[in-house]
């Protein structure tokens, strides 16, 4: 009881002190406001004032952190509930309000899904068949990337581009019952764009490719088997994102072979789509557990022997790259006469907190 009173007294005292300091700081602030460092013309003076301000800010921040820590500790000591941890503001959780975000109870969404171009593949009426080709001039990393892609996407074939028009290729692929055409575009011997054309009348998506790491450049990479992979789609929330997600999904057969333990991930974060390809394994590790927790082994041993802990381990198979959507075009590839469902325009980039996928 006494300790509590003491504590509270301390708290009061400190708060009083804080009040005085705050007042002082306020005075200083008002001074500073009237005279911003950037308004001073003498450079030496300006940098001096600026450094002072910066130092003050740092002190304040430290004091705040200390106070927070103290409060937490006090709460812990007293057995009270610690003050709630404040959630840091990130760009994602302060995202601009978007009315196009898909809701799970939207029947129109599902009706639209049933009617869209990917429905036959996703309802398993059709197994996807993919043609991969390149741009006209293609060397070094391009073919390597394609050989990686061929191992990732089941049922895919590489065709030499030759000097054919893309529209001719699309026509050919349509006749051969392909469901997708992927064009890897290279610039300066570096793959820099992906074009995905849905067939027979599916949309055409154009992506920028960056941060490409091929399989052979990944340390301790695994070699994928030929089993159908599982898919993970993360954070495709808006209508456009949903559509793009369905597009990626329809590249793969819809019956994953779980024995293969292959996972392909498309993770969307701030409109960048991260592609990863992994193998996983579930392991039961009893011996390691015991050894690591040697000190309180008695209780752990009993538990460990009764139910062994299962952990999942991952091994990356590659390739690893990042995609960014540039445009989504209605119908098959038509660069001149195409009708776009979505195009990125510079006027959309007026806010950092606006995302489209």
């Amino acid at each position: 009881m006494g300790a509590k009173r003491k504590n509270s007294g301390d708290g009061d005292g400190s708060s009083n002190g804080d009040g005085k300091e705050v007042k002082k700081a306020k005075k200083k602030e008002s001074m500073a406001e009237s005279l911003l460092p950037s308004m001073i013309k003498n450079k030496e003076k300006r940098s001096e004032v600026h450094a002072k301000l910066k130092h003050q800010k740092k002190l304040e921040k430290r004091k705040k952190a200390k106070a927070r820590e103290a409060a937490e500790k006090r709460a812990l000591d007293l057995g009270e509930e610690p003050p709630p941890k404040s959630i840091p503001r990130t760009i994602e959780n302060t995202r601009e309000f978007d009315e196009t975000i898909c809701m799970p109870d939207d029947e129109e969404l599902f009706a639209g899904n049933d009617a869209d171009e990917f429905a036959p593949v996703l309802n398993q009426e059709l197994t996807p068949k993919i043609l991969i080709t390149t741009c006209r001039f293609n060397s070094t990393r391009g073919p390597a990337f394609i050989s990686d892609l061929l191992s990732v996407i089941p049922n895919s074939v590489y065709y030499k581009r030759g000097t054919y028009d893309l529209k001719k290729i699309v026509e050919y692929a349509k006749n051969k019952d392909f469901s997708f055409v992927i064009v890897v575009h290279t610039n300066r011997r570096e793959p820099d764009a992906l074009l995905m054309i849905g067939l027979p009348n599916g949309p055409t998506a154009h992506f920028k490719v960056s941060n490409l790491v091929l399989r052979k450049d990944i340390k301790n990479h695994g070699n994928p088997t030929s089993h159908n992979p599982e898919l993970i789609m993360n954070n495709f929330t808006t209508r456009l994102g949903h559509r793009i997600g369905r597009l990626f999904q329809s590249l793969f057969p819809q019956d994953p072979n779980f024995r293969g333990r292959r996972v392909v991930t498309f993770h969307n974060q701030r409109d960048f789509i991260f592609f990863r390809h992994h193998r996983y394994i579930f392991e039961t590790k009893e011996s390691k557990q015991v050894s690591s927790k040697g000190k309180n082994a008695k209780t752990d041993k009993d538990e460990g022997s009764s139910e062994p802990k299962v952990i999942a381990r991952l091994q990356e198979c590659g390739p690893r790259f990042t995609l960014k959507l540039r445009s989504l075009q209605h119908g098959t590839f038509d660069s001149k006469g195409g009708e776009f469902e979505w195009v990125h325009k510079p006027e959309m980039d007026t806010s950092r907190r606006r995302f489209f996928l």
Partner: protein
């Protein structure tokens, strides 16, 4: 390098957790857990920016989408507010996607005709969405509706023949250039499939694909055009072709661009000679049928195909929308760009409609937004997200009038109604009902409120007893109003 490593480790973490989840459950699309969390954050997050759309004047528009739904968008109130979707008609079905729509925009007994992908034409009441009749195209043509889909539709305002007033006429054109005028009589019972359709059919083009159909203000002439089809004008009374365009000469490099018209619009209501049309190779052309067969003027607009063209009421300004979502207005006398409508419009524009009275423009397209623009300032007034790719939009222009029209104006309306009802005693006048009445009431109430209070400050000072009395008086007023309404209805019945 370190950045890359960090990213990789992040990825490892999320995949590890997800892999465990996934391995057991069957894969079925999205990580619902993640989505749920995102939504929670959505609801609690601070809103950092506000959309600065000034809101639009009271209006009502109907948008048609690729799932065959009709969505009613209204903007209510005297104050400028954001437009909202108020009603949705129909069941989502991809085979009944709307391809064209036409509205008979009048005060009494308005009608809406909707052509669907499966070849049928539905006639609806644009007030409540009740289907009056449904006419299927199948019986008339041999081709399946997939091959020979309807591309254009026009519902005539004037009575086509000297038959009864319940008969209506519409003109359709299919993609193969098969134009037909059909007359039908509205059946007594609703939602009945009409069989007694009289029609005249002719072919407007030998080859190529017809892509649009437009009818001028006097409803005597119509325009057809499309891919491989030069724009041609037909006299509807005699169904003869009176004019065809001639493609422009080869350019200085000797390159000839194949004809591919995507849209057209008559410049003004009373002139059938001048019209503008947009082409697939991003050109806008002005034709004058009295002058020459080649375009009088042509200019380029951006670099994606023109998808929609619409003329203003004054016949001097045109609005052009293209395949990448750019919308701009041009002065057609000079061919100069007046300005473009900027508002984060990302998808192809399928339809542009000018409001018959207010200075408002509506555009809709593949990005499933219906947007309202101010014509003079070219500013976005309001944007409504309608969930599906939209194909067409029409204005229901008598919506706003209803609200403004006071009760005293009923007399002339009654007179004109009696004129109409000479021929059609059996038909009860389908007036715009509930919504409009409500508006009137609310408006009256508001008026009475302001009359009593004088200003907002007074109401704050008022104590409870006074408020009670106020409420009483309000009730009385509304009662009186209802009485007057009843009277009105009686009068209309007479």
């Amino acid at each position: 390098m370190s950045k890359g490593r960090r990213k990789a480790s992040n990825a490892a973490v999320f995949t590890a957790s997800a892999a465990v989840n996934r391995a057991v459950s069957k894969f079925s699309g999205y990580n619902s857990r993640q989505e749920g969390r995102a939504q929670k954050l959505q609801s609690t997050m601070p809103r950092t920016t506000t959309l600065d759309t000034p809101g639009c004047p009271p209006l009502r528009a109907l948008a048609f989408d690729s799932l065959g739904l009709i969505k009613v968008v209204e903007c209510k109130g005297e104050e400028k507010g954001a437009a909202k979707m108020v009603e949705k008609w129909g069941q989502p079905d991809a085979s009944s996607a709307v391809v064209a729509a036409s509205i008979l925009d009048r005060e009494f007994n308005p009608l809406l005709a909707v052509a669907r992908k499966n070849g049928s034409v539905d006639i609806l009441t644009p007030v409540n969405g009740a289907i009056q009749a449904s006419i299927s195209n199948l019986s008339q043509t041999q081709d399946s509706p997939q091959d020979n889909a309807i591309v254009g539709l026009h519902l005539f305002k004037k009575p086509w023949s000297e038959s009864s007033l319940r008969s209506y006429t519409f003109l359709t054109s299919t993609i193969k250039g098969c134009a037909s005028i059909r007359s039908f009589e509205l059946p007594e019972s609703r939602a009945e499939i009409v069989s007694d359709v009289t029609q005249t059919t002719w072919s407007t083009s030998g080859s190529g694909e017809t892509l649009f159909l437009k009818v001028d203000g006097s409803e005597c002439y119509s325009l057809f055009g499309g891919k491989g089809v030069e724009v041609n004008v037909w006299d509807l009374l005699t169904s003869t072709k009176i004019w065809t365009a001639k493609s422009p000469a080869k350019n200085n490099l000797g390159i000839f661009t194949p004809t591919w018209f995507t849209s057209a619009s008559f410049l003004s209501k009373d002139d059938h000679r001048k019209f503008v049309s947009g082409t697939h190779n991003h050109q806008v052309r002005l034709y004058d049928t009295s002058a020459q067969r080649r375009p009088v003027m042509s200019f380029d607009f951006r670099d994606t195909p023109i998808k929609a063209v619409s003329g203003d009421l004054d016949g001097q300004t045109i609005y052009v929308g293209n395949g990448s979502g750019d919308l701009a207005s041009f002065d057609i006398r000079t061919g100069k760009l007046l300005g473009s409508f900027v508002g984060k419009c990302a998808g192809s524009i399928r339809s542009i409609v000018r409001h018959p009275e207010l200075p408002v423009l509506a555009s809709c397209g593949l990005d499933s937004y219906l947007r309202f623009w101010d014509i003079n300032s070219r500013q976005l007034l309001s944007a409504v997200f309608l969930k599906q790719p939209l194909t067409d939009v029409v204005f229901d222009s008598y919506f706003g009038n209803k609200e403004v029209a006071p009760a005293l104006d009923l007399q002339p309306q009654l007179e004109c109604l009696s004129e109409i009802s000479d021929g059609e005693e059996d038909m009860a006048p389908r007036k715009r009902k509930k919504t409009s009445k409500k508006h009137k009431e609310s408006k009256k109430l508001k008026l009475s409120k302001t009359g009593m209070h004088g200003s907002g400050d007074v109401s704050e000072i008022l104590d409870s007893s006074e408020e009670n009395t106020l409420q009483d008086t309000r009730k009385k007023a509304s009662k009186a109003h209802k009485r007057s309404d009843k009277l009105k209805s009686k009068r209309t019945k007479q």
